[in-house]
Symmetry: C2
Subunit: 140 residues, 2 copies
DNA sequence: ATATTTTTGCAAATATGTCGCAATTCGTGC
DNA sequence: GCACGAATTGCGACATATTTGCAAAAATAT
């Protein structure tokens, strides 16, 4: 997977640096991270500004995407670097579960796009709710 | 539609004030707005802090929702105040088409949430692509 | 190893979001 | 319409998040 990172960077005229590697590694687990989490985790490795710059660059190159979570967003590897999926966001504890393209979903949106003469290039599907844990706990 | 706003406020023990009216009006067009747009548009009418407070209140009362649009969030009237819909975003000209819940969609996500022990409270579905016009034009 | 170009760290500037409190506005009863 | 208590707002001060300029450091090509 590192290979793909290098390729993507080189192809676009960017070099592989320690900081870019570090950010990439931090995201490899697959868990979406808030900027705050990233800056805390990577504080010893790179400057806050560099994190922002690198995330922005990665987003431009399609290496990462930002997923919305209520008011905040989290950063995660894009579909190119981790399998295409969607999210179940727990509105209480902030946990994010991932799930694959549901059966029949593709067909539905394709029909839809066709009906509107759209040529689809991508889509996002985010579900909000309470995870199992938070359903039993009282509202914090 | 103003009626519904008043009712919602009264039912929850809040009063209709100029600022609440102003924010509501600003959103009536149906277009999602960033906080920045709102603070700029309403600068002459109300204070920044009040906008945040009012948006928060409106969200609590289910009058507005914050939706992902690009990477920042935007505020728009909730389904209760404007019909539930989703968006087709043209990545070239920025046009946004709205469409209703596709048939079969509800069932799919309900099954999914159930499988993950989630209790759904909402969802977002955004499609990206090229609108009819932009498909024929050269890349700008 | 050196020159050239890119990238980073640092510190300062902006932007975004919150908070406490006095001043104002709202809804109500007269 | 006026007076009153309660709810709401504006203001200024914070706290946090994000961006920017620029000199120093790291990467690339020779």
């Amino acid at each position: 997977m590192q290979d793909k990172l290098i390729t993507t960077l080189k192809n676009n005229g960017y070099s592989l640096t320690k900081t870019r590697q570090a950010l990439f590694s931090a995201l490899l687990s697959g868990k979406p991270r808030t900027m705050r989490e990233l800056t805390l985790d990577l504080a010893s490795v790179m400057d806050r500004a560099s994190i922002y710059r690198t995330v922005a660059l990665f987003e431009e190159l399609g290496i990462v995407v930002r997923v919305q979570q209520g008011w905040k967003y989290k950063v995660e590897l894009s579909d190119k670097f981790s399998p295409h999926h969607h999210h179940l966001n727990c509105t209480q504890c902030g946990k994010i579960l991932s799930f694959n393209e549901p059966a029949g979903f593709e067909k539905i949106i394709n029909n839809l796009a066709e009906a509107h003469l759209f040529h689809l290039s991508g889509h996002t599907l985010e579900l909000q709710g309470l995870c199992h844990n938070c359903q039993t706990k009282p509202t914090a």
